[in-house]
Symmetry: C2
Subunit: 439 residues, 2 copies
């Protein structure tokens, strides 16, 4: 990286919000920091240590939110944060914040992610962002660099939403988009109440939370195949798909598969299959960023020779364009009615999740792009297909994300993998993005 480029990128970073000390922030410390690198061995060891907690027979990670395994991971993180010299705060939803000392009263530049996993999770989902964020802050402190703004690392509670709903709960509450009391009252299928579980594992904090960040950037594995397929190693995430999840239930009549003429059937299963084929064709026809998935299906009674009386299926629609997503939803709704009417069955569609698309802050994206280019790997501008804590922060602060590849696009799976060199590269991209945003 040459200094003129560095200066240029710093100016851009300043555009994201009022910065009291203006362009003069191109300090001697910043220039000296341009060759700074995180400690890759330490970072990989920390990833290993987190992956070892409650490791399953198939190698998968199982740290459902607010279980004992989650507590062990939190305890490790807090220990590392304190040892690195960060001040640790826990808010009332259990989010952990590690903040660089000094700079009181100033909005921090924040990074973060989560350490809870799905039941058969991989090693990197969430963990990379947290451990790389810690690595970035620790490196900055160790090098004695003092950016103009404090830096903060957030470990958000219950991003996955497996045990308690909704997902991305900690970042939602932090950003003021979900009521704290409602979140604390969330009840798991195992009967546990979230607030009580926070108390039990010792992470029911008393602080209102960190202040609103000056900017937020999150490093994450892609969890999809695009970078890996393209042979690219860094992504600058510009937007995030809107998500529409619904559960559809058709109710018809069970009858004998041999004795019931086709014309006299009210086959709930046939309706489910037909709409599943329709939504797939719809996504192919719409093209662009539209995707559609039927991941879950149940027939009742689910016997080979009985016409299903009831069929339930889920429909997952995603698009980066809210109008197109709404158009897709409308087409599905119309087709559901048409199929049900033709078959003489009833249909009920229940919305499970609905989030609008999120557009990240162009200025932060450009900082990410500049930093990655200077590290020798101009990033791919891309969309996130998965949900992330960053989308919850985006409404309250300029936000973007950095992606590194997922081998074969695999995630939520013990085969989740990323080349260690790409992990290191992502962490260094995060380090320098944070430095510029904070300078």
């Amino acid at each position: 990286m040459n200094s003129s480029k560095g200066g240029d990128a710093v100016s851009k970073a300043h555009a994201i919000g009022p910065v009291p000390d203006g362009p003069a922030a191109v300090s001697a410390g910043w220039v000296a920091a341009s060759s700074m690198r995180i400690d890759a061995d330490r970072m990989l060891q920390r990833i290993d240590a987190l992956a070892a907690i409650n490791r399953q027979a198939d190698g998968s990670c199982c740290r459902l939110a607010l279980t004992d395994a989650d507590r062990q991971a939190r305890d490790l993180m807090v220990g590392w944060m304190r040892a690195a010299g960060l001040e640790v705060h826990v808010d009332r939803i259990g989010n952990i914040f590690g903040v660089t000392p000094g700079g009181e009263g100033q909005a921090p530049v924040m990074t973060g992610s989560h350490i809870d996993t799905v039941a058969t999770g991989g090693r990197y989902d969430g963990v990379l962002g947290v451990v790389a964020g810690l690595e970035a802050l620790q490196t900055i402190l160790e090098q004695g660099v003092a950016p103009a703004r404090p830096l903060a690392l957030a470990v958000f509670t219950n991003e996955e939403g497996v045990r308690f709903q909704p997902d991305m709960m900690g970042s939602l509450v932090y950003a003021g988009a979900l009521d704290l009391a409602a979140a604390l009252a969330a009840r798991a299928e195992d009967g546990a109440v979230l607030g009580e579980e926070l108390q039990r594992i010792g992470y029911a904090g008393h602080e209102a939370g960190a202040p609103r960040p000056h900017a937020y950037v999150e490093l994450h594995i892609e969890q999809g195949p695009i970078l890996d397929r393209a042979g690219e190693v860094l992504g600058a995430v510009v937007d995030l798909q809107g998500i529409s999840w619904q559960e559809v239930t058709f109710r018809g009549a069970s009858n004998h598969a041999g004795t019931t003429p086709m014309a006299l059937r009210r086959d709930a299963g046939a309706c489910a299959s037909e709409i599943a084929t329709f939504v797939r064709d719809l996504a192919l026809r719409m093209g662009g960023s539209q995707v559609a998935t039927v991941g879950r299906i149940h027939f009742f009674p689910n016997l080979i020779n009985v016409i299903p009386r009831e069929a339930k299926l889920t429909i997952d629609l995603r698009n980066t364009d809210e109008r197109l997503l709404q158009a897709a939803e409308a087409e599905v709704a119309e087709q559901l009615q048409a199929i049900a009417a033709r078959e003489g069955v009833t249909v009920e569609a229940r919305s499970l999740v609905r989030t609008p698309p999120v557009r990240f802050d162009e200025t932060v994206v450009q900082v990410v792009e500049a930093v990655c280019a200077e590290l020798g790997h101009p990033p791919r501008r891309m969309t996130s297909g998965a949900g992330h804590d960053a989308q919850m922060i985006a409404p309250i602060a300029p936000t973007a994300m950095i992606f590194v590849p997922s081998v074969n696009g695999v995630s939520h799976n013990p085969r989740e993998a990323t080349d260690p060199q790409h992990l290191e590269l992502g962490a260094n991209a995060l380090l320098h993005t944070l430095l510029r945003l904070a300078s």
Copy 2:
């Protein structure tokens, strides 16, 4: 019924096989018997008594083959058969035969059915044929009528095939189409071995079985909606659909529903939905007796936001015409390959059941038609969509069936229902059909 008509029908009955005493069988006894009727109250009480065994909370009958509940039902039947004056024999597969005394050495005219049920069975499936058959034989004995041939009632082992496969096992072994040793070695999912279960419940007989019947006729509820919809009360079953059951497994790749572009998917679930829609459209396009059902489906891992890596479904195809059934199977096989190739997944199709269509004996069908007409209810000539013991007997003796309506076509369900007047009518049709065939 007038006597000339009666004489005509008896002549037809004689055509089904060599009858030593020829048309002279229009005996005084037969003419006197023309107004004979079964005891409907006694029959309904017996149906009630069988339904009371192991009755479930939802009112359904659960008498899986060779369980204690099956033994209790068998014990009741044997007691009633002996009390009625029948000689009881149990063969080595546990089929129970009750035979009218005398007439040794002559092939009996046989009726029968089964008393095992599915896990959530109704009151009439199988039971009606057995209890009405007993009623017919008991009435004949009580009235002192002595047909030229002996009459036999068969209670066939394990018609439903729920606990032990294959279904219709007792009639298969009796007809020589299934090896006895193989049947005795059948193992249930609960670990039980059929031969040991027969011993345990006291129905491992030592007899080779009843002789090959002179003719066979079985009364059964339709288990479909055709008679009920048409407002007709008796059916003369002329044929039985061929059945093709297969289990299809698509194997693709699990990926994130948000991050995986449509073009990079190998979605096993989408393939399953597409073939399910295809088989339904195929049956509608073929028309005639062709029916097609996808009753069972499973996705793996069956999560809302994960593209299914594997999908299993069953395909049930039936047709009364073997060539058309084969054509349907061929179209499905071709489509399976096309879908799998397009999606880049593998597909495996495993045949579970394959029985050719059965055409019943036209002479026996005509006896049924004549008898029903004389009872004031000319029957509908119809196809059986379900499998029955009668189809296993058809290759070794002239065979047909009598159907009575199922309200709304419901069967294998506690809501299985038939108007008591129709039960009685069916039993009287069976009585007089047996009388004519035996005269």
